[in-house]
């Protein structure tokens, strides 16, 4: 029989697995999961064509909750695994999920070089300014005066500014979203996926257990008053006055994504085994 099978677009629910999240009730990551699945559905992707890669932490549990291919990897090393996967399988849509501890501290160096290399990945960081999974230690984005049992009086340390770093290091798409706006976040993730090269989406995702005051983010975030720019210098100037609560795309460039040299790297796993055999 010679019949063509036309794939009908899937609903967002089709991208969810049968595993139920074990995040704390009220965690912003539930909404981010919903945004992932909505973005995949809006882009008319198929679960078998998407890989969700993560490191360690609350946010990094996301691959298990999707019906896509998933890789729950080593702390801070999600970008390395994802880059390898994308270069080996350029046909896949590769989305990386991380948190502010996994992505900016343990994985900080990978973040810099992933931006610089510009492999066609979408990097989504769920930022709650705290290490939630390990009981609330300060993370790189924790405010210097955040007082807690584990950091009496605060760390006194300057916060890491992920958008500034992404822009300076060469990310081709830089945006900020808010978990409490799941449809808007889905749009941003979809736009990040559509944009070739390394796309970075920072999502403010409240940790209601260790940072209950982050519930107020809903009243504080706002759409960015200006549209995105393709001029990195202009984007950098905007960040100088950014208070961390503007939502939307900041920068979208046109740098071509990294492509492996043609004719090389086409070895089969069995060839590599021979080459690297002791």
């Amino acid at each position: 029989m010679n019949s063509a099978v036309v794939a009908t677009p899937l609903k967002a629910q089709a991208f969810k697995s049968d595993y139920k999240p074990i995040w704390c009730p009220g965690c912003g990551d539930y909404s981010v999961l919903s945004s992932f699945t909505k973005a995949f559905a809006n882009l008319e992707l198929r679960p078998e064509n998407v890989a969700v890669v993560s490191g360690i932490g609350c946010s990094s549990r996301i691959p298990a909750y999707t019906s896509c291919y998933g890789f729950h990897g080593v702390h801070g090393r999600s970008l390395a695994a994802a880059a390898g996967l994308k270069l080996a399988r350029p046909d896949l849509t590769v989305v990386v999920a991380s948190g502010d501890g996994d992505g900016y501290s343990i994985g900080g160096n990978h973040f810099l070089h992933a931006c610089r290399r510009n492999v066609d990945l979408t990097y989504v960081v769920m930022d709650n300014h705290v290490y939630g999974m390990t009981k609330g230690q300060p993370s790189p984005t924790t405010e210097p005066d955040w007082d807690s049992k584990l950091s009496p009086g605060g760390t006194g340390l300057r916060t890491f500014n992920p958008l500034v770093i992404a822009l300076a290091a060469g990310a081709n798409f830089v945006a900020r979203a808010f978990a409490g706006d799941p449809n808007g976040t889905a749009d941003l993730i979809a736009e990040a996926i559509r944009t070739p090269g390394f796309s970075f989406v920072e999502i403010l995702s409240p940790c209601i257990t260790f940072r209950p005051e982050q519930r107020e983010w809903k009243q504080l975030v706002r759409p960015s008053p200006v549209t995105y720019t393709a001029d990195a210098a202009q984007a950098a100037r905007r960040l100088m006055t950014d208070d961390g609560l503007n939502i939307g795309v900041l920068y979208k460039g046109d740098r071509p994504p990294y492509q492996p040299p043609v004719g090389k790297g086409k070895k089969r796993p069995s060839d590599l085994e021979v080459e690297f055999a002791l």
């Binding site: 704390c24 009730p25 009220g26 809006n42 584990l150 409490g180 449809n183 809903k218």
Partner: protein, 222 residues
């Protein structure tokens, strides 16, 4: 947790659309109001997958598609809440959220039935509201792993009030007589739902003052 406070935070509704709802699963005193076949058109929002800026709908069918999205989104959110509570072994509240989800889903299904649709022409995932979410969609940050049915009902009450106030606002600002009539009708239904949940709350035990007390709290303390 802010569940107790949240129900008071009824904001001025942004322009949204909604549908009639049925609360017939509410325990004891139930109500059944099907989605009415009125000529409801409204200043709702057009699906805008490429733009966060919502646009007014142009027809009754478009309006109903958005009404469907509103109900479906509310149902999905309550189902997520139920899963979350189940995972944390708060089975009583999980069941209550499951029930609320079923009620909202039934409203969504009624819209499909009324319109003769197998599925909505506009995917719920593509609908954009003027605010961050639909007027009946519950706020996830109001949850607490030790919350009680009373708290869950407060959340539901808050959402019904938001929907009621939305339709009241819509009826007030629209220049279209048909829209006004539809919005007023819906406002009336929503007001009835508010009343029903208030009755439900009155039959539900109020939590103790120390309901949040946990012998093994997640946050380190002295």
């Amino acid at each position: 947790m802010s569940t107790k406070k949240s129900v008071k935070k009824v904001k001025k509704p942004a322009a949204k659309t909604g549908a009639k709802k049925t609360l017939k699963n509410a325990p004891k005193k139930a109500v059944k109001k099907s989605v009415k076949k009125t000529g409801v058109a409204a200043a709702a929002k057009r699906a805008a997958s490429k733009s966060a800026k919502a646009q007014p709908v142009a027809s009754a069918a478009d309006f109903m598609a958005h009404a469907y999205a509103m109900e479906a989104e509310a149902a999905e959110r309550y189902a997520e809440f139920a899963d979350s509570m189940e995972m944390h072994n708060n089975l009583e509240v999980a069941e209550l959220f499951r029930k609320l989800s079923r009620i909202e889903q039934r409203h969504a299904d009624q819209i499909l039935e009324q319109m003769g649709w197998k599925q909505s022409p506009v995917s719920a995932a593509n609908v954009r509201w003027e605010g961050m979410e639909g007027p009946e969609t519950a706020d996830p940050t109001e949850l607490h792993y030790l919350m009680q049915p009373y708290h869950a009902l407060q959340i539901a009450l808050h959402n019904e009030k938001r929907a009621r106030d939305f339709f009241a606002h819509l009826a007030k600002v629209t220049k279209d007589a048909g829209v006004r009539a539809g919005a007023l009708e819906m406002e009336e239904d929503e007001a009835e739902h508010v009343h029903l949940i208030e009755e439900w709350l009155a039959r539900t035990p109020k939590p103790d003052a120390n309901w949040e007390a946990d012998q093994d709290p997640p946050v380190l303390s002295d």
